[in-house]
Structures are given as structure tokens and as C-alpha cells.
Amino acid sequence: MNNLVYLKDIVTLVYDEGKCTGCGLCREVCPHNVFGMNGKRVFIRDRDACMECGACSRNCAFGALSVQTGVGCAAAVIHSLVSRKDTGGCCPPDISANGNCGKSTGCC
């Protein structure tokens, strides 16, 4: 799937090389081979392959990575534009209000 690429120069992935200890966990969890190992530290191989899932930043115990995550579908973005409440995109306001995405919604 080398020809499945999305837009260029757009992702919010931020990498602080100074904090990297080379544990390699980000490389384990990344589903798109964004990171490579450069001796003792990690480097960003393919920035545009990042889909902002947040697995790397979530699993970096040293705070070297950060990325803005969120529900990445057009429907969710439209919903947040149309409705005034920020329901995180998917769930109707009444369900999201009590923090519980009910099984009745068929969106996810």
C-alpha cells in the first residue's frame, strides 16, 4: 500500500528529540511506519504517513511526542460545524452529555 498517501505537510505531530530515550515503543505502536531508529534515538521517517491516531504520543513515557487527535471523519467535522455543542463529533448531544456513547447509536 505504498501508493496510499494522504495530504502533504499537514499533520500536527511534534517530536522532541531531546526527550527520546530510544525505547522504541512509538515504533511498535505506529501502524504506518512513521518512525525509524537512528542509533540511540528515533527519527521521523515519513511524516505524511501519520494519521494522527495518537498511539505514539500516548505510549511515550518521556513526553517526546505529541499530536492532536480526534475523530477523523468528514461526518464528524460537519456535525461539529452544524451543532453548537462539542460532542466530539460522532454522538448526538443527548448521548454525549452524560459521557456515555450508547449502543443504540449505529455510528461507530
Binding site: L4, N33, E52, G72, A76, G102
Partner: protein, 307 residues
Amino acid sequence: MEYAVDPGLYALGNPGDRSEVFVTANYKMSFDALRSSLPGRDAWILVLDTLGINVWCAAGKGTFGTDELVERIKTSGLTDVVSHRTLILPQLAGPGVAAHEVKKRSGFTVRYGPIKASDLPDYLDAGCRATAAMRSKTFTLWERAVLIPVELVHALKPALLIMAGLFLLGGLGGSDGFWTNALNQGTPAVLAFLAAILGGTVIHPLLLPYLPGRAFTTKGLIIGAVTAVLFVGLAGLDLQTWPGRLGALAWLMFIPAFTAYLAMNYTGCSTFTSLSGVKREMRWALPLEIGMGLGGLTVWVALRFVS
């Protein structure tokens, strides 16, 4: 059919205190994929309450998360069941689970297994080592195609309303009575719309990697343009006359607007688009789709009042 599994600790085969512990979501398909990938092996399966949602979506939402995992370890009494302190999680749980946090709060070390449960036997036999291929999320033709039914079903309800609307709009203007006009003018519009849906929900996913453009909207526009040209040809519009030309223009605006919109929505199903990218794409795509759709519709209706 029930698609949620009760959360908790399950035994696969005849596990003992040294058997591996696999963690999964309480969505039936996730659970079944895991247990069927380990035939003949003894293992524990810890099922988290992800509200019946699959691993990757739940991880993204946070339900397949650190808190739920730590809590489920506690309530299942796992520490009394196994003598080791290792859990094997699906790689795609990463967005929701912080491995170092789980270790700190529960004492269990999280190991991220392969993306696909079917790779687990090879992973385990290699000493819990994953190949690069096991850690890469693919989006093969089959994986793209299986998403088509759900996209079609989601499009169905609004589509029926739009088709009814088009049929009725077809009745306006023109020389014959309302219902005759609706039949003669509305029917082709409904067919054009159906062709647009087919292009946007079926053709686009299948041809995704081969269509030009990085944005999904671009790919949708191209499919729509081709569909519109075919439609104009089949409708036998005379491009030497102004009504013919304007009629063709109406289709060239109307059809791609819908294929583009449907293609754009496929970003939600894809495995490689980013939220930032989708937002950027929508900034130009949505106004374009709305403009082209309304524009095409207007020309189509206006033609019958002018000619």
C-alpha cells in the same frame, strides 16, 4: 443478533497460571477473531467493556483505554489467576492505552502484539516478536470493499428523500402537465443521482489507490465527471444547441458534486487519513460540493422555464 460480549476473564482451552493473557474488546467480531486465531492453544482472554465497539475505534475514543484496562484487571481478579505479569494487547489499542501507565497502576507489563489476530501464532512462535509487516496497517482492495455496504446503507435514507425531491422538481416548468414533466424530467435526474451514488460509494473505494489526487474529494470529482459525461452521452443531449449545452452543464455540476461528497465521507472509513488533513480538505471541498450541487440543480430547473 447480539454483537456485544460480556466483559471479563475468559479461558481459551485449558489455561493455567503461566498461560498468556490476551486483551480484547467486547465486540463479538473482535472476540471471535482473537479466539479463532489461537486454535489448540491455552490462554486467558481478558475482555474489556468497550461498549461493544471494536478495538481500534474504541481505542481512538478512549473506551479501550488505560482506565478500563486497569479496572478490568482488578475486577476480574487476574492477579490471582496468573503468576506472571504480562498482557498481550492488539497493536491498534495503542491510541487508547498508555503501556507505562498500566504498568505503574496494575503491575502488568503491556506487550503490543500484531495488528491482525491471525498473525498471533507466528508472533508467539517467534518469541513475541512482530515483523514490520505485522505492524503495518494495510488497506487492501478487500478491506476497502467490505466497507461499501455500510456506506450504502448510511446513504440510503437521505438518498431516498433526495430522489423524491428530484422527481418532484422535475415536474416544474416545461410544456406538459406536472406529473408528465415529473416522469420525463424527474426520472433521468433520479437515475443520474443513483449513478452518482454508485460512483461515490462503490467505484471510489474500489479504485482508491489508482485515482489521481491525494484528497478523496478530487478522486470523487473525477469519477463524477466521467459519470456525468457518460450520462450526457446516454441522454442524447444535443451539444450544438444552447439548451443541450446548458443541460450538459447541469449534469456536469450536479453529478460530481455528489460523488465528491460521498468520496469525501469515505475518509471516515479509511486507515490512513488524518483529522488535520480531513479538515483541510473539507475547507475547499464542502463549499465546492454545495456550490456545484445547487448550481447544477438550478440550471436544470431554470432551463425548463427559459426554453
